[in-house]
Symmetry: C2
Subunit: 182 residues, 2 copies
Amino acid sequence: MRVLGIDPGLTRCGVGVVEGSVGRPLTLIDVNVLRTSADQPVAQRLVTIEKGLDAWLDEFEPDAVAVERVFARSDSSTIMGTAQASGIALVVAARRGLPIALHTPSEVKAAVTGSGRAAKPQVGAMVARILRLDAPPSPADASDAVALAITHIWRGGAQARLDAAVAAASRPARTTPMRTGR
Amino acid sequence: MRVLGIDPGLTRCGVGVVEGSVGRPLTLIDVNVLRTSADQPVAQRLVTIEKGLDAWLDEFEPDAVAVERVFARSDSSTIMGTAQASGIALVVAARRGLPIALHTPSEVKAAVTGSGRAAKPQVGAMVARILRLDAPPSPADASDAVALAITHIWRGGAQARLDAAVAAASRPARTTPMRTGR
């Protein structure tokens, strides 16, 4: 499956496309950062982000979109812009009917490094290792977007296996119906 | 001028259209609340709000849009959804090239009641009085959207008069160029 990871932000919005499936090597398709200028009104900056994300969806046609879940307790000076940008990311994906998943920063850290409290450089280092890159994607927003996509593929894979297991477990009951009394 | 006021929110997004100009009676064109269900995913709720706002812009063709400025210090349980909804409101208006103004809750209270610390019922009461309504628009989100539109017309009018005064003051300098020395 191909996943677009989005690390929402008003000044820098990370975008990364990863392809692969659980248990197989993952491939980085592309990664970048959408930037908007603080000199522009917020509304115009959001339109720029909307256009940028639409262009990425057009070009890479992902099967799903993974967006970082934003919390009110985050750094308050930028949190409003981040929340607004995340709203745009959700709308752009939902308009196309794409499956959307929200992953928290600690879920992403735990998925790629094994620790929900890992530092940013450790996340970047693991992203590079997982995707067999010479260096982590830069800046950190780019690495974070790629880490989101990786997390989604791995967690989505686990969920898919769970669903398959549940389906398999319930199958015999249907093919061999239980007999009552008599 | 005709202004669409938007009080952004994920569960209830107030929308109100007011027409008029400074120093003349204002007219309420329409007011309502766009609602989305908490049972739906956030992305889908934001798409519903986007469609609703687009429909209002199509129907009423306002000259400008006034959106409540959201602060991080607001009630934290709903602030993320409010910020995301405000991002959608800004994008929907900016995509059409409409002038957008952000007004803070205290600016709105001060404009319609004379006090930046007025209580909600007082805002509603003044909205009803200004627009010659039998009762305040209900719920409060609807009243707040209308108050935003009123604020915008009144503040915009003051700004327009200031701009005109500045233009008038600078005009003689241009028609009677200053002579240097000699």
